[in-house]
């Protein structure tokens, strides 16, 4: 019996030492263990009676603790990832966000052996996916594709989710908002849009996606800055609103510059950036046209993980996102569409998200 006990003691002490190493709290655990072992050794009678079972249990618990401690220690240390990373996309397969995410995983594959698995969680304009990710662990294995419209959705649906449930780790694209017109009509330039709006006295029709979304909010800001009045006609998708613009059912469509590529009937009247875009050198900014406060009306796209993910894991992601941003394939795919390709890391991105959220909240009241 003594012999067996000795073996257990060695296992116990060994395991606790390794466990201690992993957890960096040598003194407490070691003391506890020594007391209990000492206690058991001294009270032989107690030990002989109930003993064996208890002892066995202690050993098992201790060993399993050791195992758990080891794997956790390993994760924090640098060996991330050890299993596939789930990339949650809030649109169905084939949507723009889905394609961007899959392109990202394809390019990221050049720089890491990690496996990314795209998972589509469509529904409720992104709330379904956000709730899904919010319920996951902060272990870095669930990455989510996010855009600014997720923020507006949180506000318009009065969601209880706080945007800071997530750690916004990489902003990758900034797509300026633009006012698009149909150049087969007589209202093409921004001056003509304003003149038409004044002539119609509030009945000018602006087409775009759902009310309360990013494009609608931008349009309202433009009307305010230009001192005009117009009506917002919401469609179920940007595509259907563009079809209506082609059918001359309204005067403008609010969207992004890339949406006119390959469609010669559309022109951009103005864009909401500080400077002209290199891809569209002839398109004036609102600033040039004398409208203030419209230098930064943009749609952004990026990625988030659940808040509380360790710094080491985020550093791993920072590295990947930096490499993808500079990848020629990424640039060749997204630069021609009028996007500004950036890589803003968590410090800056979290601030942008909070500011956007607050602005939507303020706009709602």
């Amino acid at each position: 019996m003594k012999y067996i006990m000795k073996i257990y003691c060695t296992i116990l002490s060994k395991s606790s030492i390794i466990q201690i190493r992993a957890n960096n709290c040598y003194t407490t655990v070691a003391k506890l263990d020594r007391v209990s072992i000492g206690h058991l050794v001294k009270n032989k009678e107690f030990f002989m009676k109930k003993s064996f079972v208890i002892f066995l249990l202690t050993a098992i618990v201790s060993i399993s603790l050791f195992a758990a401690g080891q794997s956790e220690g390993k994760g924090a240390a640098a060996e991330f990832p050890t299993k596939p990373i789930k990339l949650v996309v809030y649109t169905g397969p084939g949507g723009a966000g889905d394609i961007l995410s899959r392109k990202f995983t394809e390019i990221a594959g050049k720089y890491t052996d990690a496996t990314f698995v795209v998972e589509n969680k469509a529904g409720a304009g992104g709330i379904v996916a956000m709730e899904y990710v919010a319920a996951k662990k902060s272990d870095g294995y669930t990455l989510m594709y996010m855009t600014k419209s997720n923020i507006s959705k949180l506000v318009t649906t009065d969601s209880e989710l706080d945007p800071m449930t997530f750690d916004w780790i990489a902003q990758m694209q900034i797509d300026p908002e633009a006012v698009i017109t149909n150049n087969k009509t007589s209202v093409v330039t921004w001056e003509e849009v304003v003149a038409d709006a004044k002539a119609k006295g509030g009945d000018q029709l602006w087409l775009g996606p759902a009310a309360g979304g990013l494009d609608h909010v931008t349009a309202q800001a433009i009307w305010k800055a230009a001192g005009i009045e117009a009506k917002w006609v919401p469609f179920s998708s940007g595509g259907k609103a563009k079809a209506a613009l082609l059918g001359e059912q309204g005067v403008t469509y609010t969207g992004n510059p890339g949406e006119i590529i390959g469609k010669p009937d559309f022109s951009i009247a103005a864009i909401a950036t500080a400077e002209r875009l290199p891809q569209f050198p002839d398109v004036p900014t609102f600033k040039e046209l004398g409208l203030e406060g419209l230098e930064n009306e943009v749609m952004w796209r990026g990625f988030a993980v659940k808040a509380g993910t360790s710094d080491a894991i985020i550093a791993w992601y920072d590295d990947i996102f930096e490499k993808v941003t500079n990848d020629p394939d990424w640039i060749a795919t997204y630069a021609p569409q009028g996007n500004m390709l950036v890589h803003k890391t968590r410090e800056e991105f979290n601030k942008i998200v909070q500011a956007d959220y607050d602005a939507y909240k303020a706009a709602k009241q």
Binding site: G94, K103, A210, K263
Partner: protein, 496 residues
């Protein structure tokens, strides 16, 4: 004639092993996706998009449109054999297809649905090839007021769907419209009947509801009415297949439905389901024996299938001519094109005619391949009808659950499916048909959003000041009123 030369070249592009494999594989996958309840054509296409990344853009596109075409036909297989429409538009096919199966004429239903699909698909493609530009220009002019009128016109098909049972059909359609009001209001963003759960923000998903109403309710009914252990072994009898003469008799129905289906497919947001409902109604109006519709009239199957398959060609019209997707499936195609750095739109005709014309050629060939594979497959599908109920019913149950789960990988959808199944079963017991509920769910959103959009754009009078809208509304009134008037007259006669 330049067009024909281009088209001829398009066929030239397909002369190779790879394109042919892509078409055949696409058609097979499409038929399977269509037949699987829960996988709609757009999802079938979307699921295959990631596999096309490594392919040349031509092959990728050929594969995807082959799936799209075949999936629209595939939905009819399960609709005819087990009354479980694989796709929303196949609901209409089941009206007459399933009664044919119950009469032991599954072969007739399957044959007619296949041939009508093929002919419809080819007619839709021909219209796409020759008239896409002017038709697309016309389609974008359609005002929300006209969409609303079209939706109302679609809803009036309830009157003829219901027949003598019209008050119950009418109530069922109203139920569908009410179900549609659940979720975030699409115009102003107000939450309606969401009971504080984000899962109801989009309302009930159509596909799980559809599976529940048709497949599960059917399972429940059959379990209720039959004692499974005593169910005699069904012997495999030689199935009757339609003769060439049978097909020839349907020529007008198929032609009419194909043209109507293509035209409706062109309008962004209308789509295959509405096309099928309207064609069915039209076929019934033109028929000399409208009473046989819903009881296994081959014209009903032909109308529905020709319309939903031809709508594929229609849906591609705005995509290719204007770069604007008109349906869920074409929206997925846009994504697939963008992956290959191709931006859909009129410029594609100039910059990459090879892509456009090989696509046209592929559409025509895919329809013919579908006919060949379908004729072979129909010999297999028809055997589904002789599977003993004690095996078939649990299998349908399992497929229904998996199908509804696969829509969004959500158990909420599974619960929706079961809920609608139980509701459908109870409603059926009291003589309320399921199809008008689907019609209400499909058309409700179209009617509501376009009504409100039109009012924002031009006030309430706009519905009567725009000629097309006014004509459609008057037609709606007539097509709703006349059948009702006739049935009430007939009822009085029988009483007197």
């Amino acid at each position: 004639m330049e067009l024909l030369a281009n088209l001829f070249q398009g066929f030239g592009y397909l002369a190779g092993v790879q394109p042919i494999i892509a078409i055949v594989a696409g058609v097979i996958l499409g038929i399977l996706a269509g037949a699987m309840p829960g996988l709609s054509p757009s999802m079938g296409v979307a699921l295959l998009v990631p596999f096309t990344y490594g392919m040349s853009p031509q092959i990728a596109l050929i594969l995807l449109v082959s799936i799209y075409i075949a999936a629209n036909y595939g939905g009819s297989i399960t609709a005819v054999t087990i009354n479980t429409p694989g796709t929303p538009s196949a609901v209409v096919t089941s009206f007459d297809g399933y009664p044919l199966t119950q009469q032991g004429k599954a072969g007739i239903g399957l044959g007619i649905s296949l041939v009508s699909s093929t002919v419809g698909g080819i007619i839709g493609t021909i219209i796409l090839i020759f008239f896409s530009v002017p038709l697309a220009r016309m389609a974008v002019k359609l005002h929300p007021a006209e969409y609303f009128a079209l939706a109302i016109f679609g809803l009036t098909t309830v009157a003829s769907l219901g027949g003598k049972n019209w008050p119950k059909a009418f109530l069922a359609a109203m139920l569908g419209l009410l179900i549609n009001t659940i979720g975030i209001d699409p115009i102003s963003g107000v939450k309606r009947f969401t009971f504080g759960t984000y899962r109801l923000f989009d309302g009930f998903a159509l596909i799980p509801a559809l599976i529940g109403l048709f497949a599960l309710s059917e399972v429940f009914t059959r379990i209720e009415e039959s004692k499974l252990e005593k169910d005699a072994e069904t012997k495999y009898e030689k199935t009757q297949w339609p003769t060439l003469m049978d097909y020839w008799k349907l020529k007008f129905t198929i032609a009419r439905s194909s043209i109507l289906g293509t035209l409706i497919g062109i309008f962004p947001g209308a789509g295959a389901t509405i096309a099928a409902f309207l064609s069915y109604d039209l076929a019934k109006e033109f028929s000399k024996e409208p009473d046989t519709f819903g009881k296994g009239n081959p014209n009903g199957v032909a109308a529905a299938e020709a319309a939903n398959s031809s709508s594929v060609g229609g849906a591609l019209v705005p995509l290719l001519a204007l770069g604007i997707p008109g349906s869920a499936s074409t929206a997925v195609l846009v994504g697939a094109l963008m992956i290959h750095d191709l931006v859909p739109g009129p410029l594609l005709f100039v910059e990459r005619p090879d892509i456009i014309y090989s696509l046209f050629a592929a559409l025509l060939i895919a329809n013919i391949v579908m006919l060949g594979l379908g004729l072979f497959g129909a010999r297999l599908w028809v055997k589904v009808t002789v599977i003993p109920k004690k095996i078939l019913l649990p299998a349908i149950l399992a497929i229904s659950i998996i199908g509804s789960f696969s829509v969004n990988y959500s158990f909420f959808d599974v619960a929706t499916c079961i809920g609608f199944g139980i509701a459908g079963w109870i409603l059926k017991k009291y003589g309320y048909p399921g199809a008008p509920i689907v019609l209400g769910m499909v058309l409700g959103k179209l009617a509501e959003t376009n009504f409100r959009r039109a009012v924002i754009m031009g006030g309430y009078e706009i519905f009567f000041t725009r000629p097309i809208s006014l004509i459609l509304l008057i037609l709606a009134l007539l097509s709703f009123g006349i059948p009702l008037y006739q049935t009430s007259k007939a009822n009085k006669k029988t009483k007197a």
